[in-house]
Amino acid sequence: MIAELGYAATVVGFVLALYGAMASVIGVRTGRADWLRTGERAAVGIWILITACIGAMLYAFLTFDFSVRYVAMNTNRGTPFYYRITALWGALEGSIVLWAWMLSIYTLIVVVRYRRRQPELYPWVLSVMLGILAFFLLVMSIPAPPFERLSPIPPDGRGLNPLLEDSGMITHPVALYLGFTGFSVPFAFAMAALIVGRTGDEWITITRRWTIVAWYFLSLGLLIGGWWSYHVLGWGGYWAWDPVENAAFMPWLTGTAFLHSVMIQERRRMLKLWNLTLIILTFGLTLFGTFLTRSGIIGSVHSFTQGSIGVFFLAFLALALLGAFSLLAWRTDHLRAQGELDSVVSRESVFLLNNLFLIAATFTVFFGTVFPLLSEAARGVKVSVGAPFFNLVNIPIFLALLFLMGVGPLIAWRRASAENLKRNFLKPVLAGIVAAAVLRLFGVGNVLVLTAMALVVFVAGTITLDYGRAVRARRRSGDGWSAATWGLLLRQNRRYGGFVVHLGILVIALGVAGSQAWSLQTETTLEKGQSVELAGYRVRFDGLSASEESNHFKVTGAFTMTTGRSSFAELRPARKFYPQEQTPIAAVDYRLGWVEDVYLVLGDFARDGSRATVKLQVNRLVSWLWIGGLVLTLGAALAILPDHRKPA
């Protein structure tokens, strides 16, 4: 009964969304506000309906209603309580519902915020958002209905994919989807601006905070994904250039490019056409990501797949891209640049280069991801494109971006004099070179690592220099310490928010460089009582124990780890045997540290517990990835604070 109601809600929602999209357009074209009001009410109605759907699904999960196929596929009687709730978005159908729900919330926020402030753009924005909602509700109704019934009703469900029974599961999809759907709003505003012909800077100023928030959540989602990969999947890495990881990374890259190039349009009125292209690309890439995960055209660890859903997504992607780019082509006359430049050495150039490198990285990732398909189409041979390719091409690009991150914020607009360059960059450059030299002395030979570290020091130097100078200036003009340091951050929160975000990226870059360059691992088979040693850690195998959990059978190894300084810890990696899975799932045990993590994976073992194969890793600087994420959070929060500057 509940399931049928849920299905009805989906269909009604779809009709409402179509209606609302059309009503908003009619309202603005005829000048009749009452049509627009019905469009708004449709938006509210849709939110209520989707929330009701979610309620119905949760009810089905919590009452073990295995007559609903989605519940039966993703939980069983042994699934712990909180995972029964997060199973809501654990597979294809539920993830679409989550996406649609977030979109409906964003639409409501748009309604509330802009109905009075932006009367000219708002109806079109609402229409576009409702149009996107209509698509997702259509998907929920036809190819991926969450309320499909199963007959006969199985006595027990299949269970959640055990890899998803983790805290990362609760947060990673939520953050990622908040990011993906967040980009719909600037996109909708861009479309509205193009339709109305107001292609100046308004749509950018209005959507600035949306862009930052969406970008932040996307960054967070990617980092949590890395953390989940690191501590659950048992291979000790956080990024595998898997096609679906790439599909989430690409909108992040273009989103970052967009974030930066809108600053040029704001200050100098240039790059209007380019900014519109970027937001269309970013939105298109968010759709492409969902298409890739669900269509099954490229194999991936994330692939949910199956059925006709891929066709729906491709059709919508085609509609969105062709429609948006055609709109853009139609309006190119409105997009003339108005600014000039005095010198190639200027902040404008740095921003252009920033965009160039980010787009180059996006293109590389895209081309590498679809190349297997291209190869098969062109000569019928299947090839793989994996980490060696992506690393080779992208690492130089990211190093260049690091460099630009240090130069950009400090170099002057329009023309940077030699004086300006010397004042801002001499000391940081020297610091970078010294850092590289010091590392070289300590035996670091790898050129890439040295460059990365030098750049990290360089960028940190520029940030410190600028901030220090600003603090000193405030102190000299009479501010107290608190106003000069903290107050400065709040007063110029956009600038310093950006700096803190850059600092976060720096920390992440440090973590990536360090972990790639200096991590160690070894694999060996141990008898009971035997030890293996790596980088000063000694791990002794003490034995195995078995236990029966609510939905799986677990074999846990007992290991004692000692370091030279006689501190010790017990590590208990396990192998979990789920009845519905074909191969056992490894549960890694690890000890995190500021500088290095110790990571132990239990492999094969003898039935009598006398022997076990283990993989021991000492991963360096990985924790800095997560710390960087925290810094990123602070920076983004700072950047979106309301302006403290009092109007003149």
Binding site: L233, G234, W235, G236, G237, A240, W241, D242, P243, E245, M270, G299, S300, V301, S303, A337, G339, E340, L341, D342, S343, V344, E348, S349, L352, L353, L356, I359, A360, F363, T364, F367, G368, F371, L374, S375, A378, R379, V381, K382, V383, S384, V385, G386, A387, P388, F389, L392, V393, I397, Q521, T522, E523, T583, A586, V601, G603, D604, T613, K615
Partner: protein
């Protein structure tokens, strides 16, 4: 007496045999494994994957290296059995060269584009042709100027 000697000889032979088997550098195993795709995972290399298949494949790599094969020969063996698909990065030949070259070509083209844009921006804006004037206004100005010119 002779039995004891035989035992000693046997032990010595065994030890000699163990020493003669080429000691395999784990790093080489890791390097070769890092270039091969784990066939049961999606994007992990044989070096990284914790799966049983990857374990066994690493064992085979170790064996073949110990038997004297070069890393290239071990790779070729896997390609012979699984096809090009098993290499994590496409071989740099023929059609595959596209994937290696196109990104750099794209980057180069991008540089050219950026340079052109910057050049266009930094040229001083050409003086704009004066906007067409309202004829009545123009007439009025002409009249007033000619009035001004009268002594």
């Amino acid at each position: 007496m002779s039995r004891g000697l035989a035992e000693v000889l046997a032990t010595l032979l065994l030890l000699a045999g163990a020493a003669a088997a080429a000691p395999v550098d784990e790093k080489t195993v890791h390097d070769v494994a890092a270039q091969l795709r784990c066939v049961v995972c999606q994007s992990l290399s044989v070096a990284d994957s914790p799966s049983e298949t990857a374990n066994q494949m690493r064992g085979i790599i170790r064996e073949r290296l110990a038997a004297g094969e070069s890393p290239a020969e071990v790779r070729a063996y896997f390609v012979e059995k699984y096809g090009e698909w098993i290499l994590l990065a496409p071989r740099k030949s023929g059609f595959n060269l596209l994937v290696w070259i196109v990104p750099f070509v794209g980057l180069g083209l991008g540089f050219v584009l950026v340079a052109l844009v910057l050049r266009r921006w930094s040229r001083t804006a050409p003086p704009r042709a004066p906007a067409a004037m309202d004829p009545a206004l123009r007439e009025r100005i002409r009249r007033e100027v000619s009035e001004m010119d009268r002594p």
